[in-house]
Amino acid sequence: MMAESTAPQVALSGVSKRYGNTTVLQQIDLSIAQGEFVSLIGPSGCGKSTLLKLISGLTNPSAGSILVDGVAPIDARKSISYIFQDATLLPWRTVSRNVGLGLELEHVNREARKQKVQSLIELVGLTHVAGSYPRQLSGGMKMRVSVARALATTPRLLLMDEPFGALDEMTRDRLNEELLRLRAEQNWTAVFVTHSVAEAVFLSTRIVVLAPTPGRIAQQIAIDLPFPRTRVTRESPQFESYVTEVSRALRGVHSA
C-alpha cells in the first residue's frame, strides 16, 4: 500500500496548468519528502494556490503528472487535509461538531469520533468553547478550529492556503508556533502558501519561490534553522539572514 520511504511523498513532474489561453503554471518539477515543511511564496498570480489545488486533486493538470504517496492525488485524499484561506466552518455546527466533520464524512463511528474530537480540541486549546458556534469566536479561534478539523482525520499531508493571512501579527506568530508544536507531535508533511517572508522562514524546512506569468519555480531555499523554533528563533541572526535572502529572491522575481 504505502510507497517506499525513499520515494518522495509528493512528486510533480513537468506539470502545467492552463485556463483557456492563460498558462497559470508551466513545467513545474517539485518533489517533497516525508516530514518536510515546504512553503510556496511569490507574487500574486504566480499560481501558488493552483499548485495546492493540483496536489489535492481539486483540479487536474493540463500536462505532466502528480503523485501523492505514489498514487493519483484523488486516490490519496484519505491521507490529505486542506486548510483554506478562511476558516470555512459550518456556522450551524458547534466547534466540536465542526472539528468532527471530516471524521463524520468518512464514516468514523460516534464513539471514536468523540474521543478524537475531544483530544484535538484540547490540543488547540479550545476546550472552553467546544459547545460554542463559530460566530461567537474570534478570527484566531476560528482558524484553530479549522486546524483541529484538518488534523482530526490524521493526515500525512497537510495543504495550507494562506491560513493565517487574515490574522493580526501577534495571533499569527502564536499560531505559527502552535503549528510547529503540533507538527513535532504528529509528524505530517506540510505544503504552505503564504505572502509573508517571515512566516515562511519561521515555519519551513524549504521555501519555494515562484515567479509569475506563467507561474514557475524561480528558486528554492533550504532553511536550516534548528527545531524547536520559538520566539528566540525570530530574534536570531540566522533568521534575519534567511529573511533577507528570501526577500531578495522575491524582489528578483518581481522585477523580472
Binding site: 489535492s56 481539486l58 485524499r77 484519505k78 490529505i80 487535509s81 486542506y82 483554506f84 484561506q85 478562511d86 470555512t88 459550518l90 456556522p91 450551524w92 455546527r93 466533520l101 471530516g102 463524520e104 464524512l105 468518512e106 458556534y133 463559530p134 460566530r135 482525520t153
Partner: protein
C-alpha cells in the same frame, strides 16, 4: 427589553389616537353606519357575532395553512431539482416567474371550475400564490454555497447525499425561511381570494372571504369591518408564527435571527 416596551406603547398610542379620531369624525359628520361604522359599532359586531367570526377565521386559517404547508413541501422539492444544474434552472425558471406574475384573481375562477368549489380548491389557490417565493429563495440558498466549503467536503470524499444533507440543505434553511415569511403573509390573501370565488367552502359556514362578500351584500358594514380586522389578525399571526420558528431554528448561528434577540 425596555426599548421594546417603549416601541409597543408608542404604537398603541398611535392606534388609540386613530380610533378616537375615527369615532369623533363619525359622530361629527353623522355618517350612516353602513358607510362608516364607528369603532365601537365594529367592536359590538365582533362581540355579537363572535362564534361565526371565529368559525370563518378557522376555515380560512385551515385553507391558508394547508396551502402554505403544501407550498413548502412542493417548493423545497422543486428547489432541489433546480439546484441540480444550471441547465434545469434555465429551462424551468421562467415558469416560476410566470407563477409569480399571473394574477391570482384570474386563475382562481379557473381552478374552481376544474376542481370544483370547496376547501380543496381554495387551498390550491393559496398554494399557488405561495409557491414562487419558496422556490426562488430556497433555490438561491441551495446554490449559493461557498466553493471552498464544497472543496472541503470533496477532500473528505463526501458523497452527493452528504453534500446535500450536511451542506446544501442546512445552508439553505435561512433562505427557505425568507421564502416562508413572504409566503405566510400572502397565503391568507390567497385563501380569501379563493373564497371570494368559491363561495361557501363548507355547507353552512364560509371562510372570511365568503363572509366578506355576504356582509357587503347585506350592507352589514360593521361586521364587514370586523371580518377585515380578523383577516389582518390572521395575517399577523401567521407572520409572527414564522418569525418565531425562524428564531427558534436559527438564533444560535444565523445573523438574520440573531438581530431579533440582540438589538
Amino acid at each position: 427589553m425596555k426599548k421594546y416596551a417603549v416601541t409597543l406603547l408608542n404604537a398603541l398610542g398611535v392606534f388609540a389616537t386613530l380610533l378616537l379620531l375615527w369615532e369623533g369624525l363619525d359622530l361629527a359628520l353623522h355618517l350612516p353606519s353602513y358607510i362608516l361604522p364607528t369603532p365601537l359599532a365594529v367592536a359590538k359586531a365582533v362581540v355579537a357575532r363572535f362564534p361565526s367570526l371565529v368559525a370563518s377565521l378557522a376555515i380560512t386559517s385551515e385553507e391558508a395553512a394547508g396551502g402554505l404547508a403544501a407550498s413548502i413541501v412542493v417548493g423545497l422539492l422543486i428547489a432541489l431539482v433546480f439546484a441540480q444544474s444550471r441547465w434545469i434552472r434555465r429551462m424551468l425558471y421562467p415558469y416560476t416567474i410566470l407563477l409569480q406574475t399571473v394574477p391570482i384573481v384570474a386563475v382562481a375562477p379557473l381552478i374552481l371550475m376544474w376542481v370544483g368549489p370547496g376547501l380543496l380548491s381554495v387551498t390550491l389557490v393559496a398554494f399557488i400564490i405561495c409557491l414562487a417565493p419558496i422556490i426562488a429563495n430556497t433555490t438561491q440558498g441551495l446554490i449559493s454555497v461557498e466553493p471552498n466549503l464544497i472543496h472541503l467536503f470533496l477532500m473528505h470524499n463526501a458523497s452527493r447525499v452528504q453534500l446535500l444533507t450536511r451542506l446544501r440543505l442546512p445552508h439553505a434553511v435561512p433562505s427557505l425561511f425568507v421564502g416562508i415569511r413572504i409566503a405566510a403573509g400572502i397565503s391568507v390573501i390567497g385563501a380569501i381570494t379563493g373564497e371570494l370565488f368559491a363561495g361557501s367552502s363548507r355547507v353552512g359556514e364560509g371562510g372570511l372571504g365568503y363572509s366578506i362578500l355576504y356582509a357587503s351584500a347585506q350592507l352589514q358594514t360593521d361586521y364587514l369591518f370586523a371580518l377585515v380586522l380578523a383577516a389582518t389578525v390572521l395575517g399577523f399571526a401567521f407572520f409572527f408564527l414564522v418569525m418565531f420558528l425562524e428564531w427558534y431554528f436559527l438564533h444560535n448561528w444565523h445573523e438574520s435571527a440573531r438581530t431579533m434577540t440582540d438589538e
